[in-house]
Amino acid sequence: MILLLGPMADQALANVCARLAARNADLMLVHPDAEMHDWNIAWSTESGRIGDRLRVGKRVVSVGDVTSAYLRGVGNPQGGTARERMLIASLWELVDGLPALVVNRRRASSTNNSKPYQQRLIAEFGFRVPKTLVTMVPEEARAFYEACNGRVIYKSVSAERSIVKLLKPEDLPRLDQIRFCPVQLQEMIPGVDIRVHTVGERLFATEVSSDTADYRYAGRENGRRTMRAIELRPELHARCLALTKGLGLIMSGIDLRRTPGGDYVCFEVNTSPGFTFFESYTGQRIGDAVADLLCKGSA
């Protein structure tokens, strides 16, 4: 049995669900929202291992039958009502202990909640990372801007979705506001974006050419964006898989940029990638790869 945890309104989850259904896989959808008040979850352990029976909602499942689980948008155990927090905390604890393939487990999923934290991990795997400053000091931000010859972007420090933007001369007076909240500045790396999705041992690389700082919002900013599937050279291919595995992930979305000189710089690793955006442009069968992996039950 494959557990799919999260809201069906999520496009990636719905995509994987459809692919699994086409494979006639034994599925169970787990999301407590719809029947919050009479929805319970319970499990036992014996000698440190999850016991035979697992109660999820109104169903009792044999743990031995669960071969894999895929999580998307399960939520934050700090948010919502007490009941929501209770159920979400339980789901995370349960999947952490499940003797099955889990895409992805909590600790590994949480590495990109702090980008500077994850950046240090990425560097340990031999990737070049951009010169970065996290600061609340306007003078230091200005000095960084000068040191980078005015080629600087700013983006969120946390996993909060933000539009990556170029810091422009007219933004400099606003830097005084950073005294009240840390800001992350990075050297602008020229080149072509490459989003790499890894799914177990499979890899899908998408080259994105855009004239905006954040290709995701090219349309909104009247910019240009083209995407195509590419192959990575073997060494880089292997390093992306090693990075994913090293972060404890089964599936990842790695953001790279290829510089005009042919170097690759890694910005971050998305631990719960919304791959459908790339799949719909390029036809890469990422959802099928996820479905295959979940059916196989091991990475």
Binding site: W39, N40, I41, A42, W43, S44, T45, S47, G48, R49, I50, R55, P77, A82, R85, M86, L87, A89, S90, W92, E93, L94, D96, G97, P99, R107, A108, S109, S110, T111, N113, S114, K115, P116, Y117, Q119, R120, L121, A123, E124, V129, K131, T132, L133, V134, T135, M136, V137, F144, S156, V157, S158, E160, F180, C181, P182, V183, G246, L247, G248
Partner: protein
Amino acid sequence: MILILADSFDPWATLVHREAQRTGGDVCWIEPSHLLDRTVLNWPVETSAAVMPGSLIVDGRLVPFDELTGVFSRINWPLSLQLDDLDPRDAEYVRKETTASWFALLTAVPCAVVNRPVPGGRPTLLAGSSKLRQLVEDHGILLPPSRSTTSQADAILQFSAWSERAYLKALGVEEMGVYLQARDGADQICRLMERFAVTLQSVPEGQRVIVYVAGREVAATVIQANGSSAGGCELPFLPMEEGLALARALGLEFAECHFIVTSERQLYCLDITGAPNYWRCPQHIQHEIVGRLVRHLSDARSASLHDSSVGADGRSSAGERLR
């Protein structure tokens, strides 16, 4: 400098602060809710520099990161900040950004951090992670049966099935649990379950032992049936090494571990936390722990990232704790 990040009413922080001052240490205490008012962060996130660049300005005083000898962090993540004057959406953004910045900083500074945070938090149950379970087994430690549930009726039924002897803990919370008694165990379950899902563990027959870890040193106390610490009690052995090994595996330099030692020399572990309960810790052990913590936090170490990353100051590779 020792930096203390704790609420003003935190008893451990109070004692650490007092002891550091008494021994002539340079110490500064900041409440996490005042991090934005009292500190200014400036951190070039260098991953290859030999010495970690950057600094904090604390109450107007510049403190380069390499001048920190230790951080005593009692932060509950994510940070709670005083942002009442902001629009709720802005306040949430500022809270997330500040949390992410301080989280990364505390995993990176090349000095003792008690305790360093880990992404996603630590598992509530030792049985909740295959790596920990393996480590527990490798040390010959047993884990008692447990039941985790969101249902009060289910929890009470399990409590009854275990002859009303159980250890109760909230799921997803770092604080220690409580040993339930027959007289009010069901009430305690109901009270806790108003806010949390719980895990119950069966309590094996045997002697309760609490092991405290502070830096690389340990202290232990044997607990009587009424919950007070016992003196002169004979035990087959004290599980000091086991407590230290478990704490180290979890990346904890300040920890409280609950063990049961049976008459057949079997060792069960019920819990381990990086938030030791001050009020249940015997006074003489409190003093021992505080002295050890202050020594640990005061030790000047090599500030080189290359030295510290091999674990000389307990700063193992950030990736090591992910698996």
